[in-house]
Symmetry: C2
């Protein structure tokens, strides 16, 4: 197994990122290309192949140097079937046979995985979770992505809906509507989008005083970053929003501690720019909400691989696949 | 492996049940003895041994016919350590080395497991879940017990707190207090105890008319069974309580469908006497709350092994252990 090389490809709604990764999870270079999903899925499949080719070239390698390929995409999807189904972030794609296409093109073992699961596996293999047995990754951005790793098990679920924890219901009495159309989901409280929405609501109240008010009219509008920065600067309204966000994330973390009971909860995505103070707030609420043993023993930390987690994790899935193939050859 | 025999022992707060189980998960007889935890843990350990001996005798077998033993107990516990720690249902026991004691007494491989996890494994191996790859069992009684099985993985967690899903937080705005002392737990809404509590609250409201009212003063007080029966007989207040219970259980089920994404959600415990109508109500809410694919494809059913699930599952854990030991001998 030593000195094997893999290509991981992480397809997102806006860009796709591909890189060559070695057996220790180290990236040997990567490339990003625009996804341009609107140009159709045939174009998209070709662009995936092009990303893989460019990633290999950027590492001064040839395809024949590569042992296996892993591709991660947003859902909806059929993971064991290797298919993208009807993903809201890749319109108008539908029923795209990603795994078979890439496999036929490069004649290499090809793994297929959900992008949030792949990011979690990346952090597990080569990032924040590299010394633990199990972890849950929450990626905080427009939505709340999640991936769950237990040992070498990536919790895909039986219908490719494992670890959709952003859509765990945490409120019944006054549930907020989520981007998914349902109500009371964690994502409707704790995504960057939700943070801004809650802030705008608070700022709209009569008498609300905050340095955030003028920012509502700036180009691009108020951002989660503005809110975290204002909180750090002592703005009371912003502080309340940040504190509530920490509470909601703690609820999500505790629900995972009482279900998966992992070694580690990891937060990734843009919101981790909020820094150590934000983690401390989350940990404080976890101590109130969780059973004493997991509350004391579960590590709560930030992700380490940034935007590379997805393609590194996809490469990790390629490595898992190659190991399985080797084992089955032995038998 | 054929024709191996196991003893499973399920230790509860009131009684312990032991039985001999064959390789197909079939019980060949069982015995129940009172736990009498108040008599102390030395007494308790001896009573466990006595249950095992009596179970073997009841199947007309000798200890030498048995291949391995499995013991399940309520938490708190250290599952890999084989220890009961400080269980609220077995006072005044504390730091009881169950696995080592039983192992030394019978000189047989001995597995140790949480009782709710064992019940889930029992249903997975020989009950409702025998044809599926993964399942979540909710046991509805005084509390809400839970066990999660994914393939041959019993989700114990890293700190023996896996599948404590009764203590998943589902409400933030007006959370009810749970028996665990925390707030907003599923158990505070959907256990048999919580059903009665909610009914008593509703019946105490001015003008509430219900056939349940006179039952509040009967010996033992109102029970969940009374409420389900009154609902079936058309009592409007009871019907509302049952409908709310179905909703809360659906929230718990959906949160598992968006985390574990199992093939099957199984309900066990006394409340399943409510029958098929209650399952239909749960399924109806699941269709509203869950993503379409898991909502359509996840089986929602009742448990099949009743009070035997625990010892059968414990025997299944013994069988898992024996298989591991055989594999490690091979190497």
């Amino acid at each position: 197994m030593a000195n094997s090389l893999y290509v991981g490809l992480d397809v997102g709604g806006t860009t796709m990122k591909a890189g060559v990764v070695d057996d220790d999870g180290k990236a040997l270079g990567s490339v990003s290309l625009p996804t341009e999903a609107h140009l159709g899925q045939e174009f998209g499949l070709e662009r995936m192949c092009e990303s893989i080719r460019q990633a290999v070239a950027s590492a001064n390698l040839k395809i024949s140097d590569i042992d296996a390929i892993g591709v991660a995409t947003p859902g909806t999807m059929d993971i064991p079937g290797g298919l993208i189904l009807d993903p809201p972030n890749l319109k108008p794609w539908r029923n795209v046979p990603v795994r078979d296409y890439i496999h036929k093109k490069f004649k290499l073992p090809t793994a297929f995985q959900n992008d949030a699961n792949a990011a979690a596996y990346g952090e597990f293999w080569a990032g924040a979770g590299r010394d633990v047995h199990s972890m849950v990754l929450f990626t905080l951005g427009t939505g709340v992505g999640c991936g769950i790793i237990i040992g070498e098990l990536i919790l895909e679920g039986e219908h490719s809906h494992g670890a959709e924890v952003g859509h765990m219901k945490i409120e019944m009495t006054k549930p907020r509507q989520c981007g998914c159309g349902r109500w009371g989901c964690l994502e409707a409280y704790a995504s960057a989008t939700a943070v801004v929405k809650r802030a705008v609501e608070k700022l709209g109240k009569r008498g609300a005083k905050s340095q955030l008010k003028p920012m509502m009219n700036k180009e691009g509008g108020l951002t989660a970053r503005d809110i975290f920065e204002a909180a750090a600067a002592g703005d009371a309204v912003a502080d309340e929003i940040v504190e509530d966000t920490a509470y909601y994330l703690a609820v999500g973390a505790v629900n995972m501690m009482h279900t998966i009971d992992p070694n580690m909860i990891v937060y990734g995505g843009g919101m981790i720019a909020a820094g150590e103070d934000f983690l401390k707030r989350i940990r404080k609420h976890v101590l109130q909400l969780a059973f004493p043993v997991p509350a004391a023993q579960t590590h709560i930390v930030y992700a380490q691989l940034g935007g590379d987690a997805g393609f590194i994790g996809a490469a990790g899935c390629a490595r898992q696949l190659q190991q399985k193939l080797k084992l089955s050859k032995k038998k």
